[in-house]
Symmetry: C2
Subunit: 330 residues, 2 copies
């Protein structure tokens, strides 16, 4: 691969001049500029990004750390990040933490080593990784899940009140024993959704039935097991609020095996508006989250912080929308 000095000598100028032409900095005699451009084109010159970044002391990659690329919520978010990043000439390194604080820490390490310009983080709760980010003063934004401690750019969804609204909806539909299959304790969105569920029951002067609440990973398998425990007994809940659509899949599997039909036998509402939810029978009531916008806004926030590290921290809260469907009609 040719380097800039090769281009320069072919064009009969100094490397510095070639650099100036190729970067559009300062002004160069039109004739020389043309010779440089021609030489670069002929040789298929491609600047060495590493050398450039080393010298400029800045890169154009941002790291995105999420819990699970196979969860449509996160891929949609990732897409938003990508769109915003590429629009500004940045590349994205995608890292899968598997909701494991140790892996998360490792990826933050990689991001720091590679001198990423910034990080978009949906944290699994590793206070250590957040400490590293803060120590190194590398721009980062918390997305989907807030982080503890000092003020930080944050983009989240009003997931707690959305969970309350969904629970209220179940109450209004006449369900009496409403259970909840929550995400892993300690993860903000999981805790918030559970809290919202409790808020609504409390507001309606209902008992908050600890026996109707289960925690599980944000995966289908765990939710399936939890649902089976909850549903396979006489005193079963007559409705369930589920922390996301991946988990709802597991719940639906359990219900099918137990011969239970959603809506009629068990009211069902879950977070995330997976496109498949309208194709099942009955269609599933969901709490739609603006995942793509979440990624988009988080990334714009990050880019603006990269541009101005001194700017005060911002939190923006997007709204989730309850979409009632057949799974909550008796």
């Amino acid at each position: 691969m040719p380097k800039i000095s090769d281009v320069a000598s072919r064009a009969g100028v100094s490397p510095a001049t070639a650099s100036r032409v190729l970067n559009g900095k300062s002004t160069v005699a039109p004739e020389l500029a043309e010779r440089v451009q021609a030489a670069a084109a002929e040789m298929q010159y491609r600047p060495n990004g590493l050398a450039r970044s080393l010298r400029r002391r800045e890169t154009t990659v941002i790291a995105l750390i999420i819990g699970d690329v196979e969860n449509p919520f996160f891929t949609s978010l990732a897409r938003g990040v990508e769109d915003a990043a590429h629009a500004d000439g940045y590349s994205v390194i995608l890292c899968n933490s598997d909701e494991d604080p140790v892996k998360e820490r490792r990826y933050v390490d990689v991001a720091l080593q590679e001198r990423a310009a910034g990080v978009v983080l949906s944290s699994a709760g590793s206070t250590e990784s957040i400490g590293m980010l803060r120590d190194q003063r590398i721009p980062f934004v918390a997305v989907d899940r807030p982080v503890e401690g000092a003020a930080t750019d944050t983009v989240v969804v009003d997931t707690r009140s959305a969970a309350a609204a969904a629970t209220l909806h179940l109450l209004e539909q006449g369900y009496q024993r409403i259970g909840c299959i929550a995400g892993p304790a300690g993860i903000a969105t999981a805790d918030d959704r559970l809290a919202g569920y409790r808020d609504a029951l409390r507001a309606a002067n209902r008992r908050i039935p600890a026996r109707l609440v289960r925690h599980a990973e944000f995966k289908a398998a765990g939710a399936k097991a939890a649902a089976r425990q909850l549903l396979d007994r006489r005193e079963r809940p007559d409705a369930l609020l589920v922390a996301n659509c991946v988990m709802a899949r597991g719940v639906l599997e359990a219900m099918a095996e137990l011969g239970l039909r959603s809506g009629r036998d068990v009211g069902l509402a879950a977070f995330d508006d997976d496109p498949w939810t309208t194709l099942i029978t009955p269609p599933m009531t969901v709490i739609a989250q603006p995942a793509h916008d979440l990624g988009l806004i988080a990334t714009r926030l990050l880019l603006s912080r990269i541009a101005d590290p001194a700017r005060a921290a911002t939190t923006s809260t997007l709204h989730a929308t309850l979409i009632p469907r057949g799974s909550t009609e008796r």
Copy 2:
């Protein structure tokens, strides 16, 4: 951020010695080594990946270029790539071509600029980007879709024969007018699946009904429109082979709007074993692809080529599996 010379002076040695210790190269007096390790730990030293890569003339990132992160087939594949890459200390840059040859070319450009160690490419058909990769002699492997020209490491699925098997299954179930909603013409997997469909009809001495074939993007919306065209007339097909599950969603939407039930009214089989396909009524017949393995094997192949660029090119073909379910029972 501290640099290696900072660590060295704190440990009272030269930068060269510090480098030797930190990289485990050559042998250093145990006492000095310990001092260096201690200093590095205290200062939270993190080698500058850019400088290191520049000096070593090699990076540890690989680029993954796919058509659509929001397609579960690709995310599963991406997961396989990630798993294999991280196991070997490589990072992955994920690039979304949107099945657009121009975007694909741009990402190849980025990969070259950043001096990626290699590329895993599911090509949208940009001959230009493949030419660039070949010209620069950068290791790359074609995944899911073969590329034209010189021998290239390739990992694919026997999608053509799988499509034929699925079509044969539809014939055996007694469907008479079998249509096909294919992917975009020019994309290998789309063309192959359509070819397999034709193979099976030809082998059964059936007419190959051009009027029952439609092309669409690998998206729900396009497939929905195509399905509506096909199904909303008297002489409609009584079964459909669909190029993937994302498209099948569109087909199911169209059928719901037309009041058609899969299985009874229209037999339905689609590529990819999306977990939702067992939750709809009736469950959908699918052709399951080993997407995760595809990514895994492709990446291992890539890493082995990075290690030995002279090795002869390999093609491995994985098998897809027909899973008959209710959507192909009358």
